[in-house]
Subunit: 198 residues, 2 copies
């Protein structure tokens, strides 16, 4: 015997990948017990996230305004554009505090297997931005692997005619990682791209 | 750099026990990508669950009406009341298909450590129901352990003056469980309460 209200909530929660029926039921029972305003806050936060989210007209980053805070910030260095696959990548890089340029979020990579071709990504706007005289460098920070390599290669070729400098983020063994645990491709890259000892 | 809309959704999701920041972020990003109507359906299902849920006036089971479908069902045997701790217990027992009586949901057990005393549980209404001439048996199906035992003992004493028969569900080794894995209390109970071989 399942109460329809509870069934609906459990079905909705378990429609999220990684949330099974048991976890969904536990979540629903918790939401049922906690103070009403907290459950309302949660339901409304999810609704607002989906209905009020916009994407920056310049870089496609998740934003609440037409132009995201990074693109709108006059202290950011507009001569460098860092190309990433998704909004999480922007958040991760911002957390490092090491980058002061602007971004271009692709929202995916070229992957014919998944039906995603170059026309499905905002590449025209990237070329247009890179063609601006103020832009001197485009840094590609797209994941390795078949789709990532294809996309990087494609972008590199597209940007060739703009004359902008195209670079890629360094790949290597992470700080604190043991060499024996690094894959040989990464280890090879970290030797090839070695830097002077500071 | 965290977008406030996303931050709110992640905070709300990770306020649920068992949902960490990483899982909450993964959920939020999924909700952001999926079709808008599905995210709205989820947000609204959670809000409705909390605002429209009521508890049966007779047995305290979660219900959408003043009287739950079980109490309202004339085919249920009103001479037997099964006392459980929470609404999940009712759903679990209903799933077995072995019980056709009615329920009484306590919503907790007596636990002085958690500040829950007898007055915090709907025990007066249980005594009142058990005092009705049509009720012949009250089955206690409360978990073992200190708080459960205390509660069962207390209810048994309360019901003594009603003259109703008070029983407890059988405890024993589960079907398919190995004897070597059963705890000795359970194994002892299952020997003491042995039944004729069918």
């Amino acid at each position: 015997m399942m109460i329809p209200l509870l069934q609906e909530a459990v079905d909705a929660l378990s429609s999220v990948p990684g949330i099974g029926k048991v976890t969904a039921m536990r979540m629903a029972l918790f939401l049922l017990r906690r103070p009403e305003e907290e459950t309302l806050r949660m339901g409304n936060a999810l609704i607002r996230l989906r209905t009020e989210a916009r994407y920056c007209r310049i870089c496609n980053m998740l934003s609440e305004e037409e132009i995201c805070p990074i693109c709108a910030d006059s202290r950011r260095d507009r001569s460098t554009i860092l190309v990433v696959e998704n909004i999480q990548d922007v958040m991760s890089i911002e957390e490092t505090g090491e980058y002061n340029g602007v971004y271009h979020v692709l929202g995916g990579v070229i992957s014919p297997m998944d039906g995603i071709g170059p026309d499905d990504l905002p590449l025209d706007s990237l070329v247009e931005r890179a063609s601006s005289p103020e832009v001197r460098e485009v840094i590609i920070a797209i994941g390795k692997g078949m789709a990532g390599e294809t996309t990087s290669f494609y972008i590199n070729r597209l940007l060739a005619r703009t004359g902008v400098r195209v670079t890629a983020i360094a790949r290597g063994v992470g700080f604190g990682d043991d060499l024996e645990n690094a894959d040989s491709l990464t280890l090879g890259m970290s030797i090839k791209n070695r830097t002077p000892l500071l």
